[in-house]
Every structure is written in structure tokens, then in C-alpha cells.
């Protein structure tokens, strides 16, 4: 046991000693900006075309908002995009507020996870889509690694950015980067006080949510420090 611990300690020392080998910086035309400064900074410019990027986070941390923001930014640049929505939860008003040009969005309500993966693969196979987002929903279903491998390969062939939106990381090492949104904190409006007796005269309104976005894993060099994300509510 002591020998193993010693070897592990030496390995950790060696890792620290070696200079971090960063992947070469991507060309601007290989990147697809997401419309979110915090996310673009973490991803060193945006989503990488031909690669799988994961956007994870539990309820209300903002993973869907960031996903729609990326789709919206792509459509405004003239890209044709697709959203494979396993649970069919897309709200058209939210999509419009995210700046999505709905004419350029192919929406697929897949209904179940395996069907969603197949649909995403079909869309990538068609070619011509700049960004394909796969929102896997919240159902816990085991997805075999080979499915992620096929998706990653399909994205590579089509040169489309593939964005997987999920509550928790699923694609493992097939993802070029995994970004996590976490710790949502509500932000209330400042209280309004009466000028006469300084008492509160109106309830505080829920204005926004702040959350933390972190690059959990990346193949493109040293991770950036976590960013702060503010998401407006109404």
C-alpha cells in the first residue's frame, strides 16, 4: 500500500512539474460565439465546430438559457441550427427573447433519449447545419458510450458544433469541453420605502438569478477561472 501511495505521490509531483501542453488556438472560423461573454471566455472564443461541447447544470442554473443564447447567436450570424428536444420543453417566447430567428431553427421533439441521439445523428449527417443542440431532458437513462462516439464522429464529419444540454455530464471523454452552471441564487428588486415613515410599501420582486459557470473539463488547455452569470427573469 505504501509503495502505491508513494508512486501516486510521485506521479502527482511529475504532473505539476511538467509544463501544461496547451492545444493550438482555434482559428476564428472554427469557433461559434455563444452570445454569452462568460461562456465565450471559458471556451476561449466559443463552441468549436466539429466538436461536442457539453453544457450541464441542475434546474434554474441557466444551462438552457446559455444553450438558447448559443443557438440565437448562430442564427443571427446566418447559420441554420437544430434543436433536438427530448422532453419537448422549448418555449417559443423564451426562444424569441433569446434572439433566435425561428426560421432558421429546426425543432425536433424526440420524446425519448435514444430517439434524440438518433435524430441528432441524422441532422448532422444532412450537413449544412452550423450548430446542432441536443437537449437530453431530465430522464435518467443509460446512454452507451458508442452512441456518444457516433455523435462525436458525425459532428466531426459535418463540421457542425454539437452542443449537448444535460443536467449532468454524460458524454465523458467524447466531449471537447464540459461547462457546468451551478449554484443559482435569486436576486430581488430593492425594497421601495415610503418617504413619509420609511416603511416598506411594496414586496420585493424576483428580478434575476445569478449562477456560477465553470469549465469542468477541456481539451484545449488550462481551465479559466469560473465566471459569474446573471440571468434576467422578466
Amino acid at each position: 500500500m505504501a509503495a502505491v501511495a508513494d508512486r501516486l505521490a510521485r506521479l502527482a509531483e511529475l504532473k505539476r512539474a511538467l509544463p501544461h501542453k496547451a492545444a493550438p488556438a482555434a482559428r476564428p472560423d472554427e469557433l461559434l460565439p455563444t452570445g454569452s461573454e462568460a461562456l465565450d471566455r471559458l471556451l476561449a472564443g466559443g463552441l468549436l465546430r466539429g466538436r461536442l461541447t457539453e453544457l450541464v447544470g441542475w434546474r434554474s442554473a441557466g444551462r438552457t438559457a446559455l444553450g438558447l443564447s448559443a443557438l440565437g447567436a448562430a442564427t443571427r450570424r446566418g447559420e441554420t441550427v437544430a434543436l433536438v428536444d427530448v422532453d419537448g420543453t422549448l418555449d417559443p417566447e423564451s426562444a424569441l427573447q433569446a434572439g433566435l430567428l425561428l426560421e432558421r431553427l429546426l425543432w425536433v421533439r424526440a420524446g425519448e433519449g435514444a430517439r434524440g441521439l438518433r435524430a441528432a445523428e441524422l441532422i448532422l449527417g444532412a450537413g449544412g447545419f452550423g450548430l446542432v443542440a441536443l437537449d437530453v431532458g431530465e430522464r435518467r437513462a443509460r446512454v452507451p458510450d458508442v452512441s456518444w462516439l457516433r455523435l462525436a464522429r458525425a459532428a466531426e464529419r459535418s463540421e457542425a458544433a454539437l452542443l449537448v444540454i444535460a443536467p449532468w455530464p454524460q458524454a465523458g471523454s467524447f466531449a471537447a469541453a464540459t461547462v457546468e452552471a451551478s449554484r443559482p441564487r435569486p436576486r430581488l428588486s430593492p425594497p421601495l420605502s415610503s418617504p413619509v415613515n420609511n416603511e416598506h410599501v411594496s414586496p420585493r420582486i424576483l428580478r434575476a438569478v445569478s449562477s456560477c459557470v465553470t469549465l469542468v473539463r477541456s481539451r484545449r488547455g488550462a481551465p479559466e477561472p469560473p465566471g459569474e452569470l446573471t440571468l434576467r427573469l422578466r
Binding site: R59, T75, E103, V108, I123, G128
Partner: protein, 501 residues
């Protein structure tokens, strides 16, 4: 006299079968009047003729003489499709066209500016006919009658009769080429008239006196005169191809094989008229006498057979016909090809035909209505949407002038809104109130104490219809961290409409 071209197919029943089954080329093939063994042979290929098959034999006699003879019955649907295909080839030139049995007459007088000479017009017509699978001959002359004679009796594939040379062209032809009735033919033979020249040499009054109106018409034609005018037919935009099967099929692979031929011929005909297929109606004749009819739409007009065949196959796969199939008919709706103006700076987007196939595959995978373009419905009811066909994205792109981001892109980058993930349908819950404010919710897999509740945001509408609605919505922050949208309807029932994310 107007210059007329006659586009004709010799042995159309034979040509129709060869068009449907190109594999039969260079095999001894005969077409019988019906599928019975006693049916007479009405057309046979050169190979069959060389082996000894003759017109007028029964199918049994022909088979006895030529054991390897392939005999096909006369198929009205195939014949009709071949005639229509010949018409499409003629329409391709954009002139006035009149169909007449196994031939089509075309007014070519106005085409002189488009083609160097009339032979070039003839070549183009032959090429167009070949493109739709028909070996055609062309005769060009002054008047319909001489043009017909040139097409049917001329020694060459393209026979152009020079203006003024009509009588000289017609004179050596046998008098039977004028297609007289049996009675008139017998009379002419009795008179010893064998050629058109001999008929033209007779005194006109005597011919009319003995042979009547028909005799006068034949006499004028024998002298190279025909003054009938073209009765033009307006072009049609429904292209039909069909096939009756010898035996019923219940297998998708076999049906796909049949459909492949129909699709290929349909698209060839559309291409001959510079058109594309915007959608098809598939009519499958069932063994019990019924019909299985289905409309198959396309995301974009196409001339490619593979995507159209894939879409048809998926449509049949999705809703299989109720019984074995004895025939198939495909009606193509003609449309202009979408010509996209590509932008030097904007991304290209998916190719229309591949997109059409992909959308069809996705529909087969996820179901009708699950694939398309989402658009807000024309109502104030929250979350309503309509699904529209996805056309590949035709919205104008924002130009990025100086390498930076367009203004609208920058605006959105600075302010991101939480989006609502809608539960469809909304989940019913029980809510504990503190005064009028929600304090806790439970039900349908959700249970939470509510730290903050903002609202109510009241909406109502459509009160002038039976589907009127009233709703009080609350944005609630559960102690676990999630932010829900809670709503109470007019009947006081509570629902979670979704959560913000």
C-alpha cells in the same frame, strides 16, 4: 402555311414497355392485346421479328415459334403515361402543342430565333423525347398532314420538308401512308392508284365525285397541301405515372422497386419541362379493389430520385397499406426549382434535397408534427405554438461589416434571460397558501417549500369563445434552488407550468 413539327413514336405500346422496363431492351419482346394466350400480338421488337414473331399472331403462336419471347400485355396506364411523356418532351420547347394519339404536333414557326435551323429543332425534340425514355421520329413541314407523313413515312429520324417541296416529298409515298379508310383504300387499289403521285395526277373533280369528302382530303394531301391549324393544349402541372402489376405484392422491398421506376420516369418528365417535383400523391391499388391514397409533401422541390424515393418509402413504412397491392400510380405536382442566391459572407446551409430527406426521416422517427419550425400561435394564451414546415431558414442574415459582431448580436450578449422549460402538459399540484401567496407545493413528483413567490401576473383572453382562459401566474423560488412558474386557472386549480433555467 405554318411550319409544323410532328413528333411521333413508332410502336408506342412497345416503347411504353421499354420505357417502364429498360432491362428488356435487346430482348425479343412482343406486346399482346391482353394477358390471355389467345390475345393478338400488336407490336413486337426487331429482335422478336428476326426470330419469327409477327403482328396478328396469337400470344400462344408467337411463343411456340419463339420460345424465348417475352410477352407483355397492353397496359393502358403505361400507354397513357408514355403519351403524356411525349407531350412533356414537346412542351419543353415552349411552343404551341397539340397531342394526337401516338404523336404530338408542334407549331415551330416561331422557334427560328432560338435554333439555327429546323433540323436543329428536330434534333432537340428527338433529344427531349429520348430523355423521357421514348425513341421518337420528327417530321417538319408546312401543315399538319405533310408533317405527319414526314414523321411516319420519312426514311430518316428527322425529316425536314423544305417549303414548296411538299408535293415532291409526298409523291413517291404509297397511298396507304395517307391513312385512308378501308373502303377508300379498296377503291384506290381498284383504280390502280398505288402512290400519292398517282393520286395527285388524277383530276380533282373526278376524285371528289367518286370518293366523296375523304377523297378530296386525301387528294389535297397527295398534292402536298394541308391547311389544318394547331389546336393548342394548355400545359398541365400534374404529371402522372402508373403501373398495373401482374400479381399482388405485400413486401416493402418489392414496392420500392416499383416506385423507383415510377419516380425516375416522373422526374425525367418534369426535367424535360424544366420543372421539379414539389410533392406527390401516391395511389396504391389494393387487391380487394380499394385504394390507399396518400399525399407526400416535400420540404423543397427536387429533381433527385433518391430523396423522393426515400421519402415515399418512409411514408409507406410509417403507415403500411391495409392489404396487398396490385398497382401503383404516382401523381407529381410540378414546381419550379428553388434557386437560392448564395451569400459570399453567410454560411451556406443545408442542401434542399438532403434537408427534405432528413426531415422525412426525422418525421418517420419521431412522428408527424414532431419536426418542423416552431412559431408562436396567433393568441395570447401562454406557451401556444404552431408547427410549420421547415424550409431550411430563409431569414436574412445580419451582416457583419467590419469583422466585429453585428449590433443585435452584441445586445444579446450583454443580457441573457432565463428561459422557461415548459412541462407539456402542465403538472397539477397542491399549493399551500399564506394569505394569497403560495408557500409550498407538492404533487406529480414535485415537492418544495417556497422561499420567494413573485406575482400574480394575470392573463386572460378569448372570453368571446368557449375556450376562454384566465390565469394567475407566480414565479416561485423553491428552497432547493429551482425557480418554477406556478399558475392558477379560472377554476382555482394549481399547475406547475415549467421551471426557469
Amino acid at each position: 402555311m405554318p411550319r409544323i413539327a410532328c413528333l411521333a413514336v413508332i410502336d408506342l405500346p412497345l416503347a411504353a414497355w421499354l420505357r417502364a422496363e429498360p432491362a428488356l431492351k435487346r430482348t425479343p419482346l412482343a406486346v399482346a392485346a391482353s394477358a390471355a394466350l389467345t390475345a393478338r400480338i400488336v407490336a413486337c421488337s426487331q429482335e422478336a421479328f428476326a426470330f419469327g414473331a409477327r403482328l396478328g399472331m396469337t400470344a400462344a403462336q408467337a411463343r411456340a415459334r419463339v420460345p424465348e419471347l417475352v410477352i407483355r400485355p397492353l397496359d393502358p396506364a403505361l400507354l397513357q403515361a408514355a403519351r403524356a411523356a411525349l407531350l412533356d418532351a414537346a412542351f419543353a420547347l415552349g411552343a404551341e402543342v397539340e397531342p394526337d394519339g401516338d404523336e404530338v404536333l408542334i407549331a415551330v414557326g416561331d422557334l427560328g430565333r432560338l435554333y439555327p435551323d429546323e433540323r436543329a429543332i428536330g434534333s432537340e425534340l428527338v433529344r427531349r423525347a429520348r430523355a423521357v425514355g421514348l425513341p421518337a421520329k420528327v417530321g417538319i413541314a408546312a401543315g399538319k398532314g405533310v408533317a405527319r407523313l414526314a414523321a411516319w413515312s420519312g426514311p430518316r429520324t428527322i425529316e425536314v420538308v423544305t417549303p414548296g417541296g411538299e408535293a415532291a416529298f409526298v409523291a413517291p409515298l404509297p397511298v396507304d401512308a395517307l391513312r385512308p379508310s378501308e373502303e377508300t383504300r379498296a377503291a384506290l387499289h381498284r383504280f390502280g392508284v398505288r402512290t400519292c403521285g398517282q393520286l395527285a395526277a388524277l383530276p380533282p373533280g373526278e376524285v371528289a365525285l367518286r370518293l366523296g369528302h375523304e377523297g378530296a382530303r386525301l387528294y389535297a394531301l397527295a398534292r402536298g397541301r394541308s391547311d389544318e391549324l394547331i389546336a393548342p393544349l394548355p400545359p398541365t402541372f400534374e404529371i402522372e405515372e402508373g403501373l398495373a402489376l401482374d400479381f399482388a405484392i405485400a413486401d416493402l422491398e418489392a414496392l420500392t422497386f416499383v416506385l423507383r421506376g415510377l419516380v425516375s420516369r416522373l422526374l425525367d418528365r418534369l426535367a424535360a419541362r424544366h420543372l421539379a417535383c414539389g410533392g406527390v400523391t401516391l395511389d396504391l391499388a389494393l387487391e380487394d379493389g380499394g385504394h390507399d391514397l396518400r399525399e407526400v409533401g416535400l420540404a423543397a422541390p427536387t429533381r433527385e430520385p433518391t430523396p423522393l424515393l426515400t421519402i415515399l418509402r418512409l411514408a409507406v413504412e410509417e403507415r403500411p397499406p391495409p392489404g396487398p397491392i396490385t398497382g401503383a400510380r404516382l401523381v407529381g405536382h410540378a414546381a419550379r426549382l428553388k434557386v437560392a442566391q448564395l451569400d459570399l459572407f453567410a454560411p451556406k446551409g443545408p442542401a434542399p434535397d438532403r434537408l427534405a430527406t432528413t426531415v422525412a426521416r426525422l418525421q418517420a422517427l419521431c412522428g408527424e408534427g414532431a419536426v418542423g419550425r416552431i412559431a408562436p400561435a396567433d393568441t395570447h394564451r401562454d406557451g401556444s405554438y404552431v408547427m410549420q414546415p421547415f424550409g431550411g431558414g430563409q431569414a436574412p442574415a445580419l451582416r457583419i461589416a467590419d469583422g466585429g459582431e453585428a449590433p443585435a448580436v452584441r445586445d444579446h450578449a450583454q443580457s441573457i434571460r432565463l428561459t422557461l422549460r415548459r412541462f407539456r402538459p402542465p403538472r397539477p399540484v397542491e399549493v399551500l397558501l399564506d394569505g394569497d401567496r403560495p408557500r409550498a407545493l407538492s404533487g406529480d413528483g414535485l415537492s418544495a417549500q417556497l422561499a420567494i413567490a413573485a406575482g400574480p401576473y394575470r392573463t386572460s383572453g378569448e372570453w368571446w369563445t368557449e375556450g376562454g382562459f384566465t390565469k394567475d401566474a407566480w414565479d416561485v423560488h423553491a428552497e432547493g434552488g429551482a425557480l418554477y412558474r406556478l399558475a392558477r386557472d379560472g377554476a382555482g386549480r394549481w399547475f406547475v407550468e415549467g421551471y426557469y433555467d
